[in-house]
Every structure is written in structure tokens, then in C-alpha cells.
């Protein structure tokens, strides 16, 4: 009898009746062959692997993380609520020790969804990992969380949500942003003034294979994780580093993904992208599930797997060494850099233009944060879109100091909704969400 070393929970929600559009990569068929493979391999019969039925998240679960404009239902569907609910179900089961580890094999994905949501970016509407994490923090008082995003695309949404949070380590390892959507995720993106260093970006050159990828995990990600000492580790398990993925240019494999999962040893994995639905996903997912459960995966291989064919070009390891030096230097000196940035500043501001490629919306954000030695700082985002919407979004962080909390409410009171169509306030100290709206809206 085959049995799992780690009791492993699996939420499988392929959303067989939901697609962005009929021929879109994010369509009904995406997890069909994965389901076939998982069923045929009999994974759910392995003693210690259990399938859980996802719960739906609530409106408030979404509002705890996002400012959805104008409201949650306008930018998401039931399918997103189930997908995020799948992650939440796994998270709850892990916290309640019903399972040791869990994998939410769900769609649609979420890691490109940022704090403010006007629509879909990179196939993502709401950030399913962040919704799970903030729920776990609220319900189970989890504090320090590490997210390791192994999707081939930079997890810019998750990065945005945790940019100012020193209690969340966000590590994204992805194909170099100069060669792939969304074009961000460089080593100098290391977090906001109150959270310097807890954002870590590892761009890998195109055609990086098992060798380079696992090298980066071992020599960059694992040491940083060991330093950070998170309460839980979450893997945003995108599967598009695969050599057969149609949207990317990497040379990773099912064996590589399984080994990566063993090395990271995440408590929770959440599926993100991955669009080689026949040649990669069935094998990668089987590899990840077995690795999480602690079952031998040495013979899980794609039919056309040939390590020689996908071997990385010889110059790649040198490039990775250079990135490694830069990232580890930033990490080691993060406190020093932070002191430098925070010195004699009361506020920090940035202005950004964001493009919602899936929904074709252009957003302009003016972000202002209180530089705070005591908490992660009151946050004020003025956001407008090319569709003529103006919104003020205010965030009081979970562990806000008195001054930041007061400032958040001051901002909320002083801006009568007039210039802005909506004013939203997320007060995470009390776990509440307030909104004011302009007359006529």
C-alpha cells in the first residue's frame, strides 16, 4: 500500500465551465488532462492524500485585501470566489492540522492581481494567495508568511500587495522581465520604505533549465527563507517554466518542479499559470503532489522528456551567479538600506501607470505611505483610469501604530467624496472596510 509521509490535502477545482474566452489559454480545457493524469495515477487513493471540497470566499475576504473598483462583483466572478476559496480551504485545513500540507489546484489564477483592482491583468482578477493569507492572519493569528512565487511570470500583483509589509517575505523567481510579461521583477525591487528587503526578485535568463533553476532555489531562496524564519511557506506554483509552455522560454521540467517542491517544502501550494495543458501540466502536477506528500516521484516524466535536449546554454550559470551576488548583498544589508531610505522622511510617494492587459484598462496610481519606524505605515492610493474613474483607497495595516491609524482615518474624513467618485478605507486593525461615494454614483 502506497502511503504519504506528509498528510496532504488537495483541492481540485478545474472550473470545467469557465473561460476568459473560448480560445483563451485560461479556458475550460486547461486542467482536463491534469485531471485525467491524477485520476489514472490513482493519486487520490494514496493513503494520506485527501481531496477537500473548496469553500467559497466571502465578499469581506476579498475586501480585506483588495480595493475593487467600483465593487467586488464588478471585477470578479463566482469562479474567482471558488478559486480563492480553494486556497482558503487548504489554508484552514493546514492551520487546523487536519493536513500537514496542501495544494490548491484551482483556476483562475491570481498573482498578477494588485491591491487596487479595476479589472483583469495577466488573466488574474483577485489575488487568491493574498486572500488566503490575510484570512489566515485574521482567523488563526499567523504572523510571518513567506511566499515563493515560482510562476514563470513575475508575481507583480502579490509583490504590490506586500510591498510595504515587513512580515511577508515575497520571493519571485521568474523569466527575466526584459523578455516576458509583465516586464518587472528586477533585483532592485526590494520593497517599500517600511519593508525594505522583504521583496526579493530573482530574474532568470531565458532557457534556464533544472540546473540553473534549482541552483537559484538552493543558493538564493533557501538561505533567505532560513534567515526570515516564516511561520508558514506558500508556493505560488505556476507551471509555465516548463520547456513546452507556449507563452514562455524556459527549460524546466516535471522532475525539476518536483525537486523544487521538495527543496522549498511549502506548507501550502497554490496553482498559478501554466498553459502547456497536455505536455506539461499533467506531469508537473503529479510531480508536485507526490513531492508534497513525500512519495517517490523519480519516474514521473513527460513522454518527450530528454534532459540533454533542454540543457541550458553554458553562459547561463554565470548570469545567475551575478544575480545571486546582487540579491544576497541586498538581503544582508536590508536594515542598513532601510535606515538610509527612512532617514529624515515623513512620507514616501510614487506614481505608476498600470495596464490591465486582459481588460484593456490604463490606470494611474499616486501612492503615498507614511514612513514609520513602528509599523508598516498608513497607505494612501489615489487611482484613476482612462475610463474616467477616480478613487481614493486608504489602508491601515494590520499592526498599525496609533499615529498611522489616526492618519488613515484623518485621510478618510478629510476627503469628502466629491473630487473622488469613491473613497475606501481598509482598517485591518479592526478588520473593517468603509466606503463613501460621490452623489449620483
Amino acid at each position: 500500500m502506497l502511503s504519504a509521509k506528509n498528510k496532504t490535502g488537495l483541492v481540485f477545482f478545474p472550473a470545467f465551465d469557465w473561460a476568459i474566452s473560448p480560445t483563451h489559454p485560461e479556458r475550460e480545457e486547461r486542467l482536463l488532462y491534469t485531471q485525467d493524469q491524477v485520476l489514472e495515477e490513482g493519486l487520490l487513493d494514496i493513503d494520506g492524500i485527501v481531496e477537500l471540497k473548496p469553500d467559497l470566499v466571502t465578499l469581506w475576504d476579498v475586501q480585506r485585501v483588495h480595493f475593487c473598483v467600483p465593487d467586488v462583483w464588478s471585477v470578479s466572478t463566482e469562479s474567482h470566489f471558488i478559486s480563492a476559496g480553494g486556497a482558503k480551504t487548504i489554508g484552514m485545513a493546514v492551520m487546523e492540522k487536519k493536513i500537514d500540507k496542501g495544494f490548491a489546484l484551482v483556476r483562475p489564477p491570481g498573482h498578477h492581481a494588485m491591491r487596487v483592482v479595476h479589472g483583469a491583468r495577466g488573466f488574474c482578477n483577485i489575488n487568491i494567495e493574498a486572500i488566503m493569507i490575510e484570512y489566515l492572519r485574521q482567523a488563526y493569528h499567523v504572523d510571518k508568511v513567506a511566499i515563493v512565487d515560482t510562476d514563470c511570470h513575475h508575481g507583480d500583483g502579490t509583490q504590490d500587495i506586500y510591498w510595504h509589509d515587513p512580515d511577508t517575505l515575497f520571493v519571485s523567481i521568474h523569466q527575466d522581465g526584459r523578455t516576458l510579461y509583465p516586464g518587472s521583477g528586477f533585483p532592485d525591487e526590494i520593497g517599500g520604505p517600511n519593508a525594505v528587503g522583504t521583496t526579493v526578485n530573482i530574474p532568470l535568463p531565458p532557457y534556464t533549465s533544472e540546473e540553473g533553476y534549482l541552483y537559484a532555489i538552493e543558493n538564493i531562496v533557501l538561505p533567505i527563507l532560513a534567515d526570515f524564519k516564516p511561520d508558514i511557506i506558500i508556493n505560488s506554483a505556476g507551471q509555465d517554466n516548463h520547456y513546452s509552455d507556449p507563452l514562455t522560454n524556459m527549460n524546466f521540467s516535471a522532475q525539476g518542479y518536483a525537486a523544487l517542491t521538495t527543496m522549498l517544502a511549502p506548507d501550502i501550494a497554490v496553482l498559478e499559470g501554466g498553459y502547456a495543458i497536455e505536455g506539461a501540466l499533467p506531469y508537473v502536477n503529479v510531480g508536485i503532489i507526490l513531492a508534497m506528500a513525500g512519495v517517490d516521484y523519480s519516474n514521473v516524466k513527460e513522454p518527450d522528456y530528454d534532459p540533454d535536449k533542454i540543457r541550458q546554454p553554458s553562459n547561463i550559470i554565470g548570469d545567475i551567479n551575478d544575480i545571486e551576488k546582487q540579491i544576497l548583498a541586498n538581503w544582508r544589508q536590508r536594515e542598513k538600506i532601510k535606515r538610509g531610505i527612512q532617514k529624515s522622511r515623513e512620507f514616501a510617494e510614487r506614481t505608476r501607470n498600470l495596464f490591465y492587459d486582459t481588460d484593456n484598462i490604463l490606470e494611474t496610481q499616486k501612492e503615498k505611505i507614511r514612513v514609520c519606524p513602528d509599523c508598516s505605515g498608513a497607505l494612501r492610493i489615489a487611482t484613476s483610469t482612462d475610463r474616467g474613474i477616480n478613487v481614493l483607497a486608504l489602508h491601515i495595516p494590520r499592526k498599525a501604530c496609533k499615529a498611522c491609524k489616526a492618519l488613515g482615518y484623518k485621510w478618510f474624513e478629510e476627503k469628502a467624496a466629491g473630487y473622488f467618485d469613491w473613497v475606501f478605507l481598509q482598517d485591518r486593525t479592526q478588520d473593517i472596510y468603509l466606503e463613501k461615494k460621490k452623489k449620483g454614483f
Binding site: F13, A15, E29, L32, Q35, D36, D45, K53, E278, N299
Partner: protein
Amino acid sequence: MIIGLDVGGTHTDVVLLGREGLVDEIKVPTDPSNLFDTVLKGLNIILKETDPSKVKRIVLSTTLTTNAIVQKKIPEVGMIVSSGPGIDPEFYRTSSHYYSVSGSIDHRGREIDPINSDEIRGVAERLKKSKIRHVGVVCKFSVRNPQQELKIYEIIKDTFEKVFLGHRISGSLNFPRRIATTFLNAAVYPIHKEFFEAVGRSLKEKGLKAPIRILKADGGNMKFEASIDFPVQTILSGPAASVMGAIAFATDEPEILVLDIGGTTTDMAVLVNGVPLLNPLGIKVGPYQTLIRSLETHSVGIGGDSAVIVDSRGIKIGPDRNGPAMAHGGPVPTPMDTLFILGEITNGNREKSIKGFEAIAKQLGTSVEDAAKKIFDRTCRMILLEARQMINRINRKPVYTVYEMLEGYQVKPQTILVLGGPAPYFAKGLEALSNFKVHVVPRWYVANAIGAGLARTTSEVVLFADTENGIVAAPEEDFSQKVDSQFLKQDAVALALDLLKQKALKGGANPDYLEMEVVEDLEFNMVRGFYTTGKNIRVKVQVKPGLIHGYDSMIHGLASKNFRSR
């Protein structure tokens, strides 16, 4: 007339049913070491005063194959499995005559690595040397493409008495279960065949010409002739017989919980609109997870004769049964004894029950009557708790579409139907301790045999189409056809229903009352690049379990007549 026979662990129940009602009913003790004698004895007694030529239907539910597996009295079987990449097939080893060979098929049914004929011949040679007569052949994804199993079959078919192919045993995905199920099928094949041929001969000698039908785990029956190659489907039909017996007397409530309280165990099942829920994947037999289609039943080790132990650690009821109630000469106190003590049953030695409960009463610091009441209540509560847990498990079954998720159908039965030996006595307790309305199945003591007798013939067909590959197939039915891109889901459903009809008729169904239904019909656009290249269609159809046509008024009669006291 109809004969229904159900072999149980202690008793074998036989009924003779006519349009007018229950003509006769008998019980004979089960001799597990000689089931043939038990079955024959039961049939002889029931036929004593009946003209055998009037019997038009005879349905047997036996523990023959189950016992053989559980007691490991099965002949040696050879297994040849081809796995390709994935989990090491060594984990699924069935015996020392188990060989993993080369060959590989992917999830779309494409051949990745070929079979090696020389290797197969070598394995066959070794199996033959070990005097193996029956062999199972299972390839991963053979239900998407059976060609490799068929190639192996061609190579070895003349070397062995009988070769079983995995794709013919079940149409469902699950390689490990396909191995186990094919293995069990090959193992019980000779036992099943020999037994029922012998029963058939004996009945023929008596002038009984109706074909023998055998009850399956899914609550349906099939003719013996159709079951010869698939005997594994007749495993664990006992709980199904009881559920079908309960259906005969089911009330109009949309959802009903069925409890069959026996001596050792209580079996549970759920009826929705009079149809029992099926287990989605397959039943577990001993240590084997299988693809055998079965009713969703849950068996717990609590029954009327469960051993009751009360000591410093608390009260323990079951799962052991050490014999009948003390009132009937058994060695240890049981829940049945509480009924003697409380005066609910009188046909036994109450004094012995009281004596048995004296120590329990002392341990609990109360009177014997009060102790009996406590143990009885505890037994009922344990059964109710298990029932609630089973309902929760059913409601926690995952779904895979947004529609089903939001639809969120939840089973919440308000009514319990109880059958089995101590049914009427437990009914009162179950009702007092819960919010369920509790009804006793009329003829509760032979309802299982009635259920066997009246069960209809069931079958299932799984079909898939992959228009990019240009194929529609139901490998389990030995069916495949070329299709073009114009092939649609409704065409697939029509084909599946047609195959189902043929299969059901072969199994012995009444062509005028085929209750076919579509269980699953999924259609996916296959997109490669940015173009739709085909459709992937999956269809599952079934004749759902239920009772044969034409006996409603007879059943009504049985239900309305006063119960005979026994």
C-alpha cells in the same frame, strides 16, 4: 413467480414472490464452508410446494466471491502490467506472479513506447512454468487506447486458459484500481463459474428453466451468462440486496436514510427520490480498492450482537461479535440483551441477559434496567452519529464546475428506513434520540431477499470522443469508430445510450422498461495555438438501480398487511 435469495453471514434468506404477494419466505443457516449446500437447501425448501416451471425469475445474492477474497482462498493469478512513466507499478504488486513490462500510452491515448513482444513471450513462459492458468493484462490509460492490452492478448491468448484485459473490466480512469479489479476478476472467475454452473444444473434437474440472475454491488442484477467474464461485479452484493429491499417500501420523501441493522454490523445507504446513491469510483473489497460499481454504502461494526464491554475506560460496543445475545445462549452481553431486560423481546432467556448485565450495572453504579437503557441508547446514538458522518461525507464530495458548486445540492434526509433482524426494536430508540422520522421496512427480516428478487438489471457505459484524433470509443464495450470534426456531444450521447441499451439487454433487462439516464456529458473545445482543433467529449450513461416493472401493487399489498410477528 420470482425467487430472491440472499446469503448472509449467519442466515440465508429466501423468498418466493408472486403477483399476489409474498408466497413464502424461509431462513436457513449459512454454512460458509459449503455455500453450494446452503443455496441448494434454501432453494429446495422454497420450491417444495411450488411448480418450478412457474418460476420466471431467480436472483441470487451470495457471499461466494467476497468470502474467497477475504479468506484468501483464491487461485494464483498472473498479472502483466505496463505502466510507462509515473508511480512505480511495483506498489501495486498483487502476488509473486506480477510482471511489469515496457510500453506506454499517454492521457490522450497516444502510444509513447511500444510493447516488446519478446519480453511478453518471456513473461508468459515464466507464468506458464508456474502453472498459472488465468492472467490479467493492464496498461496505463488502456481505457483511452486498448491497443497495447490487445497486442499482449494476441501474444499470450493461447498460452493460458483465460486472459482478462483491464479495459474490459471498467471504463473508468484509475490504473492502480484497474490492476486490482482485473486481478480480482481473474481470481474469482473459476470459483464463480463453477459454482453457478453447478447451481444451474441442479435447478434444471428440478425443472426450473429461468436463467439464473446474480445480484451486483450496484443493486442491479445480471444474467449468469453475462456475468461469467465479469464475476468481480457480483462481489459485496449483500448490502445492495438490503437497500433494494428498502426501496420496495420507500415512502415518498425525497431523501431517505436506509439502515440495515444486523448482528455484527449496520449497513447504511441513502436514497434520493427512491434511487440509491452510487459510489462514484468503486467499492473496497478487503484490502483492495477497486473499480467495481457499487452503491454508496457504509458499514459500521455495531449490530444487535455486538459485544458490550464496560470497564474503567468507559463503554465499548462492538466492533467484535462473540456470538448471539446471552438470552440466546451467547457468551457476552449485547445490545439485544438490553431489549430482553427492558421487556421488548420475550422469546429468549431474560435471566441470562440480566446476569450478563449485572457487572455492567455495577460498573455504571446503577440498576440493571437503567444500565440496559443506557447501553441501548448508546448503541442507537453510535449508529446515528455514524449516519450523520456518512451524510456529511457525501455532502463534502468535490465538484468540478462553477454551476455544481453554486447549485450546491446537499443531501439532508429526514426519514430513516430500518430493516434487519432487530429493526423494529431499534426503530423506537432511533426515533426517540433524533429528529428523524423512523419507519420499519415491512417484512424487515427478509426484505433483503425481496430486494434481490425485485432488482432490475443495471449497466453503465463510459464513452469518450476526441475529434482531433478523429475517434469515438467505449473500450469497455469493445467499441470504437472514426469521427470527423462535425461529431457533436449529442451524437456521443446517442451512441452511448445505444451501447447501453445493447449491454443492458444482454445482461437481462426488460426492453420495454429501460430506465436509462445520462450521468455525465462534458464537452471541451480543444484549442492548439489560437485555433479550435477539435472537441474532447466525455459521456457516462447508466441504467440506474431500481425495481422491475409490474410489482407495485404486490409491494403495496405487502406494506399494508399487518406484519406477522415472529
